[in-house]
Amino acid sequence: MHVLKSMIRQPAALFGLVVVALVVLLALAAPLVAPYSPDEQMFDGLTLEGAPLPPSAQFLLGTDALGRDLLSRLLYGARTSLVIGLVANGIAVTIGLLIGILSGYMRGLVGNALMRFTDLMMAFPALLLAIVLAALLRPSLWIVAMVIALVNWVQVARIVYTETRGLVERDFILAERSLGAGHGRILFYHILPHLIPTAIVWGTLGIATTVLLEATLSFLGIGVQPPTPSWGNIIFESQSYFQAAPWLVFIPGAVILLTALSFNLVGDALRDLLDPTQRGRG
């Protein structure tokens, strides 16, 4: 409660909190708030020539190239995209953080082996894995989430590894060690807090990139398949229409941006509250 109260006092954090709550609520309540079915291709949703309709009283955010209501698709698409942006991306950052810290902290064989494994994973053609999985498995949200987690942890691990290597040689860590602190204590109390800002950067920017990545993977056949909407595939399907029908690209783009940004504001505020000495970082 204390946390919530402090956050409300900061306008930026409050804004972030409201948006995040709103997005989650709307995603959950999509069937109640959506004006149409997200998959219904309406006869009056296209012009006679077959062009999508711009925003109007009937279709608040306009229609897509199949005559479906964009607002309804965005609302339902939030469900897919939140799972990708939060769960898949969250798992990737967690794994990356873990492997990065361990390989940066541990010397000798284990640390080295972990980092070479990371290099291998980074050099590995992830797109190809996606295509093979798409052809072998039934496409589903959870498979695409798994693939994203599998692919994205590598970069986090690389960054965290480099930062950890810098940290372990710093005076305060050396001092702790000479005082006989255990590995667990050093890792958890002295190294991890310095890495939290990095985790926040990747965790929040990653929301936007993974939501878009999901669309690429759906395109290859492993994600949600048409007509199920996701923010990424709404943009992806219509990106060449950005001139003829700008609402199809810029509205979902703004939604992704706003969501990722809001999570970032909340993340920053939370971290400031939990660790006042690090105020302003991240």
């Binding site: 930026a12 010397r107 080295n112 070479r116 290099d119 291998l120 980074m122 050099a123 590995f124 053609p125 797109l127 190809l128 894995l129 295509i131 093979v132 052809a135 072998l136 970069q155 690389r158 960054i159 590894y161 480099t162 930062e163 290597r165 810098g166 040689e169 710093r170 005076d171 310095h194 800002p197 990095t198 926040i200 950067v201 929040t204 920017l205 936007a208 990139t209 878009l212 943009i235 992806f236 990106q239 060449s240 950005f242 690209v249 783009g253 992704i256 941006l257 990722a260 940004l261 970032n264 690090q278 302003g280 970082r281 991240g282």
Partner: protein, 306 residues
């Protein structure tokens, strides 16, 4: 140092072998028949069988892989199924374009990222800081295709400052490099900002400040070098992204890089090209990371190379 390099070279070779093996296995598992793709629609079963035999696709997987490795150690990447020409030559023809775009793109990213990151860190919590954060989110949330076309509209069509498409002169590289740079700079800006703040909070910087050193000197002589550590790691990562993931930007600007080659090869199940591109980009990634690891001790002498 020599021993270290040697060890890393052996590890690199092992990683490449691993990548080759996994990729080969994946391509084998792919339910798409290269012989069928070459034969096209009108081919008879006999024609398809003939093509399969001529390509050696009727051999067991291990035999195929062994044959491939034998060629590989002699520097032979095999012949493209669809183009019936040497894969090494195809990649060599496109590699310079990819490397130029990679260098230019990373240059823009790093320059822009560091500048914005330093600015945000120094003006932490202020208007500029918020603006930089906002901009970095806009960059990473923008779909590449749309961003590339928007830049093309503004700078090549309307203002006609740069050519719309092609390869060869400095003017050609500006727009694709800017597109990639602007979209990617957000990562660098945020990493630099966060690392800078961490450094600026440390005792030795506080000491320096207490000694009355100018803030310019503090930022550029003391704080920034330490903040470069994650930047170097980021570049290592970016090399991987640039080797395989810039198909869209290449296509919009008609840039003859290997991304387009790879994308077409995947569509056609042209296994030798897919293998070749994968191995070349894997090599670039491993070298990029190796350099990042070797450069780290130069930036922060406390880190020991390993």
């Amino acid at each position: 140092m020599a021993f270290l390099l040697l060890r890393r070279l052996v590890q690199t070779a092992l990683i490449l072998l691993g990548v080759a093996a996994i990729t080969f296995l994946l391509l084998y598992a792919l339910p798409a028949d290269p012989a069928r793709m070459i034969a096209g629609r009108s081919a008879t079963a006999q024609t398809v069988a003939n093509i399969r035999r001529e390509l050696g696709l009727d051999q067991p997987l291990l035999v195929q892989f062994w044959t491939y490795l034998q060629g590989l150690v002699q520097g032979d990447l095999g012949r493209s199924y669809a183009q019936k020409t040497d894969v090494g030559a195809l990649i060599a023809a496109r590699l310079p374009a990819t490397l130029i775009l990679m260098a230019a793109g990373i240059f823009v990213e790093v320059l822009l990222g560091i500048a914005l990151g330093v600015l945000a860190a120094v003006r932490r919590g202020g208007f500029i800081d918020r603006l930089v954060m906002m901009a970095s989110f806009v960059g990473v949330s923008a779909p590449q295709f749309v961003a590339a076309l928007l830049l093309l509209y503004v700078f090549a069509v309307t203002l006609a400052w740069f050519p719309m498409s092609g390869f060869g002169t400095f003017a050609h590289v500006v727009l694709p490099a800017l597109t990639l740079g602007i979209l990617g700079a957000g990562w660098y800006a945020r990493m630099v900002r966060s690392a800078m703040i961490d450094v600026l909070n440390q005792d030795y910087v506080r000491t320096a400040r207490a000694k009355g050193l100018s803030s310019f000197r503090i930022v550029f002589r003391h704080a920034l070098p330490n903040a470069l550590l994650p930047v170097v790691a980021m570049i290592g990562i970016d090399i991987g992204q640039f080797m395989s993931g810039v198909v869209v930007v290449e296509a919009v600007y008609g840039w003859p890089g290997i991304g387009q080659l790879a994308w077409q090869a995947i569509q056609q199940v042209d296994i030798p090209i897919i293998m070749g591109v994968t191995l070349v980009s894997a090599l670039a990634i491993v070298i990029g990371n190796l350099i990042a690891d070797l450069v780290a001790p130069l930036i922060d002498p406390r880190i020991r190379a390993r």
